[in-house]
């Protein structure tokens, strides 16, 4: 069961949009980070059940952060939420272990669908 969610995005607006798309009837504990490196550190500190990860970010991009998180925890569920919808970008990040992709802007439907798939994976 998903209890802790980490949102990694350099845009505070984007994180606000993502929070608004999370189901309101579940009592998630939400953590936030503003770049890939901060996201990696937050992952190690909080061990979230699901991480939503942007790709285009300063300091460390989302593909590298995803790779580092999956190296650290092979069972990590990293859902990439990105505006960079080029096939190569998506193939790259899925190749380093991302669980799935949600295109920006997210909606309640796409986020709930992603969380349902993550729940099924966690079992």
């Amino acid at each position: 069961m998903i209890k802790k969610i980490l949102l990694v995005d350099d845009s505070p607006i984007s994180r606000r949009i993502m929070k608004s798309c999370l189901p309101k009837d579940r009592d998630y504990e939400i953590f936030e980070a503003g770049d890939g490196l901060a996201g990696l550190e937050a992952y190690k500190q909080h061990a979230p059940d699901v991480t939503f990860m942007d790709l285009t970010m300063p300091v460390m991009d989302g593909t590298q952060a995803t790779e580092e998180i999956v190296k650290y925890d092979k069972d990590a569920i990293v859902i990439v939420c990105t505006a960079d919808i080029q096939i190569k970008s998506l193939t790259n990040v899925l190749g380093v272990g991302a669980f799935m992709i949600v295109k920006k802007p997210p909606s309640k439907e796409t986020v709930e669908d992603a969380l349902a798939k993550a729940e099924a994976q966690i079992g």
Partner: protein, 212 residues
Amino acid sequence: MDNDYNGISEEEKEILQEIMNIAFGKAAADLAEVINIYVVLSVPHIEMLRAQELPEYLKRQINNYDRISIVEQNFWGDFKGSAFLVFQASAGRELIAIFGDETGPFGSESADALEKETLMEVGNILIGACVGKLAELLKDSVTYSPPRVVTENTPNDAIPASLFDPSASAIVLKTVFSFEERNVNGFLFLVTSHDSIIWLKKSLVTFMEQYE
């Protein structure tokens, strides 16, 4: 909200930045579908300026290019303004090679004409997809002028000051990009007029309301 002299708050700038991010991501994906290219994206930058500062601002941004080509396209809707896609002048030749046809996509023509038309085609895709997505997210629809290519020896000559009403304010949305494994990089600037700002502020509120 903290307003600057143009009446756009920091929060509104952040919303615009995210919308521009989504819009240019769509443009890059559209271009990658047409030609075999991967566009390396960066975080967009939003700047508020008085219109009279615009030519100087744009010159500063492109100052490290010794010779430049600009694809310019105007757009009209509630959201209206001008788009400038700025490349180093050598980009035209590189882009012809990416199209993978020695005669380019437009048949047999002189090298200069081919470069110009290739830039125009790439510009048309990037500007059209980016402005179109931006307008769609803000519930607007826009029409476009045909793209125009200007190649200049110095950046100082590239941006005609007469384009901008000196008494107006303007929003500059700037995205830096490069094409992976190709010696092509550039900027996309969207410059919107003062008239668009009031509409834009309302549209940004409406955009965020769906996420409350």
